[in-house]
Structures are given as structure tokens and as C-alpha cells.
């Protein structure tokens, strides 16, 4: 107990969204469904086929009713099999393309593909209004989030005011299970790291919920309250994760955010895969996300088990005390396994494959879960257990963290260079930036650089995603950047914050991303890790390039003002609808931290105290002082970084803004085309995994089933049939003739008598 009212009652923070969730699911949503059913009941009888969207989906635009059943009929005839074949497990673009080709060869399939194409280029999401109860659910969710945000601010200010609080307070709630001296406790832990995470999570959550009101009422009005319920559930889970005081709780939160990610990616679960765009169905993407992260969770769990078996406790605060004298190799293995969990959740190579597909979720979800909060959980996990990594495990563990991060950073950035789907570019950018954070944690002696980037990234990446969502909203769901262009002058209220965030992520001086990224690059140099230095520096260049490629393709381009920077030619014919205030206000609000949050780490403005603040938490290895960050402008290396960013921005401008350099300059020769193909297909990682699953895991499973059916059941049925056959043969002796029986009886008696005689006569013993 700390004596601080905010910290001692920290349970209020997750309890508020929990309350909203319970109200939503059990009280208001039933009302919502009830009135929707009633208003919809009449409609059912009239258009039978409109039920494609079911009773969950109230009001269907009239003009879509005629095409929908046609597609379904054709799908029924020839397509579903094709979809299930490939989409059944993990859909990859190559596999999707294959299935289109397959479908085109069948009679109905070709027509279905055409119709599918139409449907895909004009997504017909139901339009209608959420009911009043659904809206109330939204308001409750937002209010709860604002309350949680206020409480988090209270915690943060309490810590700013009282340095002792930063060291951490354990708040015991109840014992989950207690057996023979081992407690599986539900404990919360609040220190500086938690406080920062709480503020980040609640800020982004609240803003995303405000934003979602407008977004979801267009995307899927019937699911309005469900969406808010899942968002609240996600926030609860994320807060549990952030507040956890032990490995049990963090694992619980960890899995629960995975659930919410599953539910929210699959929110538009009724959608089919978008074959043309190489996009899987939301259901498949949701499944892939859950299962892929579970692969990481497996390692995480084993890591926890090793630590638990050694120390007999889950508590973060108690484990270091109990670890002294443990075999370092074992601990290194344990920590690398724990890091596996982070690899899965934070979409690091080789488990990054789920995150781009997760973009099938509604865009607010991408912003909240797959950019700002959940994917950062891996970074948080490493930060939370940093002492164990740094002090108890061998140096190899942090090297693994740093190199996995570094490799992922450059790997994902290279894929992002060629993607044309706006959300996928951002997704790969997220993967890449998370890689940066791991580099930051891996090379530095404190958690400062990594978590600093986590925080700034949460703001600017959430902004970028919400901005891209606003673009999608304006264009009626179009995600292909080739069909955009010049949007800046058309939707400036979105473009301005988006541009600021783009500068921020590209590392333009004085923006938030500049400070945090520069700190990581500086750390690699400081620790003499020149490979990582080169990687991070080059990735910074790539980041600036692909982000401004995105900017120019979407908002700028040929014919725009300032040499293509602002506005220009719009490459599609669809009308642009203006986003309302609920969409752009969160962007504007997020722009503030996306621009200025970096000053927390700049000693000229704030004393650069972020590192000192967060390192006061119980996560800094003994003997290391969490000093403030250095002033970046005193080091020459910083200017190299700035140059890399400028180079990237300039190149993007030259290729896509001003079009001085033709965009296909690199792909004219075969080598360039080959590289382009590899990047476009994401290094074929999905295909390799798919093959492994299909031929490896499924193959073994089929063998197991065959063993069951042929060997085990074969033996059983063999024994059974043998007994039956024996009986069948034996019953021949039952002739039904008394005389035969009599002969047998007396014959038997004779044999026994003879035997008896022999025994007695010859006195055999």
C-alpha cells in the first residue's frame, strides 16, 4: 500500500471499462437487439434473400439486394470449395490468386469471380443507423474510458509529485488459487512504467472509441454495440496486462488481448476474402492472428514455467531475489523463451505474418490494437522483465532480443516499400517500428529508449491508422493507394494531422519520432554494435521513404501544390465523402503528442527526464542509474540519422511527388523485377508456413487418425471379427440332434473314465 488513493485503488481503471462491458452486453445490447429485431421483422418476409446479412444486420440498401443472391448462388455452385481449400487454413496472396484461377475455369466460377470483383471494388456494407441503445453503449464506453484516463493521469501525477511511488506498489486483490504455500494471486503492480503505459493505453483507447462512433455506424451499423463491447473488453484485458504484478496476471492479460484481437479482426466476419486485392477473409485473418501469437505464447509459457519451477513464485518483485545462484544458461533459455511470447505478440520475425492480415479488422481496431497497444505488449513484457534479462540471464538473451528486433525492422521495412494497400504499408511499418523498440531494449542498459519509442510510436502510429481509416471512410472502403491521390486538398482536416504523423515516424527533426528513434540509433552506436547501427540507420532511411511514398500516393502526387506535396490528381472516380468531427477530432488531438511527445526526452525542453522517470521503476538492473537522455544535437551521429531521413523523404518526393525519377526505375531490369516480386510476396514466408502446416502438421495428424482407424480399430475389429468367426464355426457342432449330443456326452465320459483309470492304475502323480 502506497497511501496514494489513485494507486491503492488502481482496480478502478480496469473496473470502469468492465462496468461498461457488463452494461453493454447484459443490459443495453439485449434492448438494442430487441428493437432491431422488431423493426426488422417485417423486412424478413418481403425479401427472403436479404437475409444474407441476417437478423443481426438490420437495414440493407435496396440496390444491393439483387446482386447479392446471385453471387451466393454461384458461390454455392463452384466457389466455396475453392475458398475453403486455400482460405481454410492460412490465406496467402499467392494461394488466393491460385484459387481465383481455379475458379475461373469452372462455368459458374468465372461468373462468380466477375461478380466478386464488382462486389470487391464496391463494397456494399449495410447502411443504416445504429439504434438509440447502441449509441448509448458507445457513450458508456467512451465515458468509462475517459474515467480510466483521468484515473491514469492521477496515477501519473502522483508519481511525478512523489518519486518514491515510481518504484512500484503491489496491490493485492485476491488469491486466485492457493495451494500448499504457492499463491496464484491476482495482484496489480503500479510503477513508473505502468503509469506511462496506463496513460498511453487509456488515451488511445478513449480517442479510438470516440472515432469509432462515426466509423462503425457506416461500416457495420448493426454491430455497433458489439463493437463497443469488444473494445471495452480489449481495454480491460490490456489494462490487466499492463497492471499485472506477476507472470500469471500478465499471461492472463496476454491471452485476453489475443481473444479481443481475434474478435475484433473478425468483426466483419461475414465478409468473403477479397481475392483481387490478395486479402483474406476477416475470419481467416482473425484465426491466423490468434494461432500465430499462440505459437509465441507457447514459448512464453515454458519460460514462465522454468522461472516458476525455480523460484516457486510468479511475482515480478520476488523473482529476482530468489534467482541468485541459479544456473545462468537455464535462465538465458528461460528469458529467450519469454521473449518468444513477445515475438508473437509484437509480430516480430518469424511470427510477424499475422499482423498484415490483421488489417482485415475495422481500422479503429488496427489503430488501437495492432498499432498502439496490444502489439506493444511484447515490448512491455521485455521491459517489465528487463532485470531478469539484463542481470540474471546471460548476455545472449538481450542479444537475441536486439537482433530479432533489428532484423525484423529492416525486413518489414523492405516489404513495406512495395505494398500498395495503405493499411498494409502501415502494418509493416508497425512491425518494423516494433523491431526498433526491441533493438532499443536489447542494446541499452535501461528500458528508457525502447519504452520511449513505444510511447511516441503509439501516438503517431495510432494517428496514422486513424487517418488511413478516415481516408477509407472518405473513399467508401477503398484501400488501394493506386486508386487514391491528391486527397490532401480534398480532406485537409485528415491530411494535416496525417502529415505531421508521417514526419514524426520518418524521424524529421523535432518531431516525436525523431527523438525516440534517434535515441535507439545512438544507443546501438554507444554500445559499439555497428551491425545494428547500420541496420537501424538504413531502416530509418527506408521508413522515411515508404512513409512518404504513402503520403504522396495518397494525399499528394502529380499536379499537387508545392511540387506534389499537397493535393493533386485523384486517380479514381468515386465520390469523396467528408469525414465528420468525430473522425477528425481524435486525429487532431493525437497530433499533439505525435509531434511534441519527443520533448519528454529532450533535455533542452524537459530536462530529458523520461528515461530517469521510467527507470526509477523496479525494472532497472542494480548498479545502473537511469540518467536523462543526452541531447541528440551534440552528437555528430545524429546528423547522419537526419540525413538518412531527409534522403528517404527526398527520394520519395522525387519518385512519387514530383515524379522526377520514374517510379519503375528499379524494376526495369530482371534483377530489380525479381527483388520486387520477392518483396511483393513478402519473402514467401506465408507460403512456407502454409506448406509446413499442410504437409507437416496436417500430414502428421492424418497419420494419427489413420493409426486410430487402421491399427487400433483394426486390432479391435479384428479381435471382434475373430471371435465372431470362431463362434460361427463352432456352432456347426450344434447339430440339434440329441443322439449326437448323447454320443458326445458318453464319449466324453468314456475319455474321462479312461483318463481316470490310467491315472489310478499307473499311480501317476
Amino acid at each position: 500500500m502506497s497511501g496514494n488513493v489513485f494507486i491503492d485503488n488502481i482496480w478502478v481503471i480496469p473496473a470502469l471499462p468492465l462496468l461498461a462491458f457488463i452494461l453493454n452486453i447484459f443490459v443495453i445490447r439485449p434492448l438494442d437487439v430487441a428493437i432491431r429485431d422488431r423493426s426488422h421483422g417485417a423486412g424478413h418476409a418481403e425479401h427472403g434473400h436479404a437475409e444474407q446479412h441476417g437478423q443481426d444486420n438490420g437495414h440493407l440498401a435496396d440496390n444491393t439486394q439483387h446482386t447479392v443472391p446471385d453471387i451466393d448462388a454461384l458461390v454455392e455452385e463452384s466457389y466455396v470449395q475453392g475458398i475453403d481449400d486455400i482460405d481454410g487454413h492460412i490465406a496467402t496472396p499467392a494461394a488466393l490468386a491460385r484459387s481465383i484461377r481455379k475458379a475461373e475455369h469452372t462455368s459458374g466460377g468465372a461468373a462468380a469471380v466477375t461478380l466478386m470483383r464488382d462486389a470487391e471494388s464496391h463494397p456494399h456494407h449495410a447502411h443504416g443507423e445504429p439504434t438509440i441503445f447502441a449509441r448509448v453503449n458507445g457513450y458508456i464506453g467512451i465515458l468509462a474510458m475517459l474515467g480510466a484516463f483521468a484515473w491514469s493521469l492521477g496515477v501519473l501525477f502522483a508519481m511525478l509529485g512523489n518519486g518514491a511511488l515510481r518504484n512500484g506498489t503491489v496491490v493485492h486483490l485476491y488469491d486466485w488459487v492457493a495451494v500448499a504455500g504457492i499463491n496464484y494471486s491476482v495482484n496489480f503492480y503500479v510503477d513508473a512504467l505502468t503509469a506511462v503505459m496506463l496513460v498511453v493505453v487509456t488515451t488511445v483507447s478513449a480517442l479510438v472509441q470516440i472515432y469509432s462512433q462515426e466509423y462503425i455506424e457506416h461500416e457495420e451499423p448493426a454491430g455497433y454495440s458489439r463493437f463497443f463491447a469488444w473494445l471495452s473488453l480489449f481495454t480491460i484485458s490490456m489494462l490487466i496486462l499492463v497492471l499485472s504484478a506477476n507472470f500469471l496476471m500478465i499471461y492472463i492479460g496476454w491471452e485476453l488481448v489475443g481473444l479481443c484481437s481475434f474478435l475484433l479482426i473478425g468483426f466483419l466476419g461475414k465478409d468473403a476474402p477479397k481475392m483481387q486485392a490478395g486479402r483474406p477473409s476477416p475470419g481467416a485473418a482473425a484465426m491466423k492472428a490468434f494461432i500465430t501469437t499462440r505459437v509465441g505464447d507457447f514459448g512464453f509459457l515454458i519460460g514462465i514455467l522454468i522461472l516458476f519451477t525455480v523460484t516457486k513464485t510468479f511475482e515480478f518483485t520476488a523473482i529476482p531475489r530468489l534467482l541468485t545462484g541459479t544456473d545462468q544458461a537455464l535462465l538465458t533459455a528461460a528469458m529467450i523463451l519469454v521473449f518468444c511470447g513477445a515475438v508473437g505478440k509484437s509480430a516480430q520475425f518469424p511470427l510477424h505474418v499475422w499482423l498484415p492480415d490483421a488489417m482485415e479488422g475495422p481500422t479503429p481496431v488496427s489503430a488501437l490494437i495492432h498499432a498502439a497497444t496490444m502489439v506493444a505488449a511484447g515490448v512491455y513484457l521485455v521491459a517489465r522483465t528487463f532485470v531478469l534479462f539484463h542481470q540474471f540471464a546471460g548476455p545472449q538473451s538481450l542479444e537475441v532480443v536486439a537482433y530479432v528486433g533489428g532484423f525484423t525492422a529492416i525486413f518489414a521495412a523492405s516489404i513495406a516499400l512495395v505494398q500498395t494497400d495503405i493499411k498494409r504499408v502501415l502494418a509493416y511499418s508497425t512491425v518494423s517500428q516494433l523491431g526498433y523498440m526491441f533493438v532499443g531494449l536489447g542494446v541499452a542498459d535501461t528500458i528508457g529508449p525502447g519504452t520511449f519509442h513505444l510511447m511516441t510510436h503509439a501516438f503517431f502510429k495510432a494517428l496514422l491508422f486513424l487517418g488511413s481509416g478516415a481516408v477509407l471512410h472518405a473513399l467508401g472502403g477503398e484501400q488501394d493507394m493506386r486508386k487514391m491521390g491528391g486527397l490532401a486538398s480534398r480532406i485537409p482536416q485528415v491530411a494535416i494531422p496525417f502529415l505531421l504523423a508521417t514526419f514524426s515516424i520518418s524521424g524529421f527533426p523535432f518531431f516525436a519520432g525523431f527523438f525516440s528513434k534517434d535515441e535507439i540509433i545512438a544507443q546501438t552506436l554507444q554500445h559499439g554494435d555497428y551491425v545494428l547501427y547500420a541496420i537501424t540507420l538504413f531502416t530509418a532511411f527506408l521508413t522515411a521513404f515508404y512513409m512518404f511514398r504513402l503520403w504522396f500516393l495518397t494525399f499528394g502526387g502529380e499536379g499537387g501544390r508545392f511540387g506534389g506535396w499537397w493535393g493533386g490528381q485523384y486517380r479514381d472516380t468515386r465520390t469523396i465523402s467528408q469525414p465528420g468531427i468525430r473522425l477528425w477530432l481524435p486525429l487532431a488531438i493525437l497530433a499533439v503528442p505525435a509531434v511534441f511527445a519527443g520533448f519528454l526526452g529532450w533535455n533542452v525542453v524537459s530536462g530529458g527526464g523520461f528515461n530517469a522517470f521510467i527507470s526509477a521503476a523496479n525494472v532497472t538492473p542494480a548498479g545502473i542509474v537511469g540518467a536523462a537522455f543526452d541531447n541528440p544535437f551534440t552528437s555528430g551521429a545524429t546528423y547522419v540519422g537526419i540525413a538518412a531521413a531527409f534522403l528517404g523523404i527526398g527520394l520519395a518526393w522525387a519518385m512519387y511527388g514530383a515524379r522526377i525519377i520514374p517510379a519503375n526505375v528499379l524494376t526495369r531490369n530482371p534483377l530489380g523485377r525479381g527483388i520486387y516480386q520477392v518483396l511483393w510476396n513478402k519473402f514467401y514466408v506465408d507460403e512456407v508456413y502454409l506448406a509446413f502446416i499442410r504437409f507437416g502438421i496436417m500430414g502428421l495428424s492424418r497419420i494419427a487418425v489413420g493409426f486410430d482407424r487402421l491399427v487400433i480399430d483394426g486390432i479391435l475389429n479384428g479381435v471382434g471379427n475373430g471371435v465372431v468367426a470362431f463362434g460361427r464355426g463352432l456352432r456347426r457342432s450344434e447339430s440339434g440332434r440329441m443322439q449326437n449330443y448323447g454320443a458326445a456326452i458318453f464319449g466324453g465320459a468314456l475319455v474321462i473314465a479312461a483318463a481316470f483309470f490310467v491315472v489310478v492304475y499307473f499311480n501317476i502323480k
Binding site: I252, E255, A284, L305, I697, V705, L716
Partner: protein, 527 residues
Amino acid sequence: MFPLLTTLVFLPTIGALVLMVGPKGASRWIAAIFSGVTFVLSLWLYIGPLVGGSGTAGFGSIMHPAWSESIPWVHFAIGTLQLNIDYHLGADGLSIFMLILNALLSFLAIIGSWHVSNRTREYMALLLILETGVMGVFCAFDLYLFWLFWEVELIPMFLLIAIWGGQRREYAAWKFVIYTIFGSAFMLAGIILLYFSLGAQNGAYSASFSYLASHQVAGTYSIFGISIASQLLLFLLLYLGFAIKLPMIPFHTWLPDAHTEAPTAVSVLLAGVLLKMGAYGLIRICVDFAPQGARDFALPLAVLGAINIIYGAGCSLVQRDMKKLIAYSSVSHMGYVILGVAAAIGPGATNPAFREAALTGAAIQMFSHGAVTGMLFFCVGVLYEKAHLREINAFGGLMARMPRLTWIYTFAIMASLGLPGLSGFVAEYLVYTGSFANFPAQTIIAAVTMILTAGYLLWMLKRAFYGPLNPRWAHLNDANLLEMAPLVMLGVVVLFVGVYPGFLVDLLRPSLHQIIQTMGSLPVAGR
């Protein structure tokens, strides 16, 4: 004192009799009332000791069960051989926990069978008789009585599968019965051997559990010149019966067939309580009465448990029939019980806390699997009633037509794949944490399986419920309130146990602690 246990055991049978003489149209109501009353009464098993003032310790262990009723039954002697069989019912924490689960699931099974229109009266009567049999198994405190109830339960089960089952119902029913009887023959041999060895050794013949648990057979038996430790032989003989019921690989192939062919409610009971009889027997009889034998067999048991877990999951992955998939997932999930028990009895100088955690996990898994798999079967049953099909790939996009079923199914699937906050996680996590110290490799195999589990369950969900609606199912209606009722009730239980498992652990602690103490008293690495 009011004979609560006897009432619980025989009230359903009385219900069945009333049903047979009562009006035909009311058979559902009569069955529901009798099983409902049984369920309500069974709750007193839990509440009684608590209000009795002795707190959670009052649930007692096998030595001093909280509830006990005993009437001398068969007593005769031939020379020095005495046969003493008592009508002895008892209930400690472990029993109470299974009795309540059985009462709950039987009640829900009857509600979930409301739609059965073919020979309703006989169907309901058999369900009630089944309830009696299972109740008897869980509260018999005399080994012979236990065996008697163990056999009694077979008859209604056989008839329920063979009459109301699917297309291959007769094959499935026979397979089930022959498998089980095969096992129980060995079990009976084990029981007789145990009874007479112990009687000859101590001069007192009794089959009461407290006697058997407090005296252990020593020495070796010699069969055809092969000498085998008596306890190990006893353990194996007794365990064979339970291994088939559990089911443990390679004795599991009756399960997919029986599950697939049985009507919904019977599948629920089969998975929910009948498999638990095997697990209960393993803990209560094998481990309690032959602890040294159990310890000697712990390593093979752990290996088999791990194989069970991963093998069942692998088989689930390629199933096309929803029910068969869930049936194989049962094989996988029951593996956690085996692994947990193995870790609790394993050799090695393990901290008793780990042992207790593993055993607690195994026991909670019994409960959790019962409730969760019950939910899954109910979900499939609802779907099957409407579509008359269980082929996963034939569905698609059902989310659009059946939102309620979709979400409750998702809930059940999440519970089954061990999502925190739901009961399956509690069990699995306790088993993992408890068994890692004793059997790390097996635990890792079990942990790998959680990926596969997520894989097959979510893949099923995705194929059947996500994506565009297959127009063939445009006529389906969502689950109605009657169909939702058992699902929601089980869901609440699953959630409650997941969030606050403490109350179950309190219930189990005295019983399990007794076993851990016995294990602790054995010589370490006793070979």
C-alpha cells in the same frame, strides 16, 4: 440424520418409476422436476459443511468424508474368508464436486433433450437411471458397491446410444459396452485381489474406502513365475478399467464413435460425467489404494498423458465432423488429467506444493472439461437439430443467421482452448505449473498442444460461422431460449470458476491434500 446421499442416488430412479406410470405427455416435466430437485439437493452437499461451522476443512477427505451413510449389507464367512460388503455411501470434497457436476449436467441434459420426440418417456427414464448410476459411482465408499454402480451405469448408456443414436449407433453402442466391460473385468479382478490380499495381510476384511486407503498391500505377487510388486499389479488392474473410461490412448477409440452416434444430451453426459468416472477412479481408487504402485507407474502415465494430449489434438485437426472433432478434443483434454495426476504421484523429490498444484489442476480439469465440452456438444446439438448435418465444411457464414449461437459457441471454444478467465485455463495452468518440475518434457509437449487446440477449434469456428453465408442455410433460425438455457447456465459456471477458482480449490483441498501427504510419506524414488 436425513440420508441425503441415498436420496441423491435413488431420487432419479424414483423419478424414472414415476415417469413410467405417470401420464405420457408429462414425461419431460417429470424428468425435469426430479433431476432439478436432485440438483438442488446436491447443492446442500456443498453448503451443508460450510454452514456446519467447520469451514472449508469440513469437506473432509477419504478418511473422514463430510457425508457418510453406512448400512451392513452382505456379511458372511467361509472358514477364514470373509465377505463384508456394506452399503456405504460417502462424500468428501472430490465426490461432492463430481456429484454436483453430475446433478447439474443431468438436469441440463434433460432440458436440452426437450425436443426428443421418439419414445420420450423411455428416453427420460433412462437418463434418470443413468444419473443414479453415476451418482452411485461418485459417492460409493465401498469398493464392491462402487463396482456395482460402475456397471449399472452401462445399461442405460448402452440403450440410449443404441436406440436414440445416429446411423452407426449399434456399432458405437456395442463398442462402448464391450470396451468398458473389458476394462471392468480387470478392475473386478483388481478389486477382489486387493480385498483378499489386504484381508489376509491384516486379518480384517473390509472394502470400505477409509480402510483401503489407510492400509496398503505390501510385497509381491508371483504370476506364472513372474514376480511383480503387488501394488503395481493392483494399480494396473484397477487402472485398466479407468483408462478405458478416461479414455487413455490406446483405449480411446470407443469415444469418437460413441460421441458421434449418441444423441446430444447423451454426448454431454458422456463427456461431462462418464469420462470423469475414469478420472475419479484414477485419483480416488488407484492412487489412494495403491500409492506405491502409482508412483512406480507415474512415468509411463505421464508419457501416456502427454501422448493423449497431443494425439487427440492432432486427430481433431483433421476431423470433418463437428462432433467427432469435439470427441477427439475430449481425448486431448482428458490427457491433462492424466498428466496432472502423474505429476502429483511422480517420483523425484518434488516440492509437495507442485504436486498439489498438479493434482488440483487435474481435478479442476475434470470439472472444467465436463462443463465446457458439455457446452460444445449442446452447441453442436442445436445446430444439428436445425440443419441435420454436422459436416463442418458444409456450413459457412452461419454468423449471419445465428448470432446468439455464434457467440455462445465462441465462448465455449475459447473456454476449451484454455482462455484465461474461463475454467479451462485454471486447470491447464495448474497442471502446467505443477507438472513442469516433475515431467518437463511431457509438459512441453502438452504446452505445444495449446497451439494445435487453438488451431482446430478456431478453424472449425471459422469454417462454420465466418465468411459469407452459404445460401443453403438461409432458412436456419437462431437458437431459442430453451436451447440457450443450458448453454448459458454452463457458461456462467465456466466463467465463475475461471475468475474465482478459489472456491473449488477450497472444496478439493482436504481430499487432495490427503493424497499428497500419502505420496510424501512414500520413499522418494522408490525403486
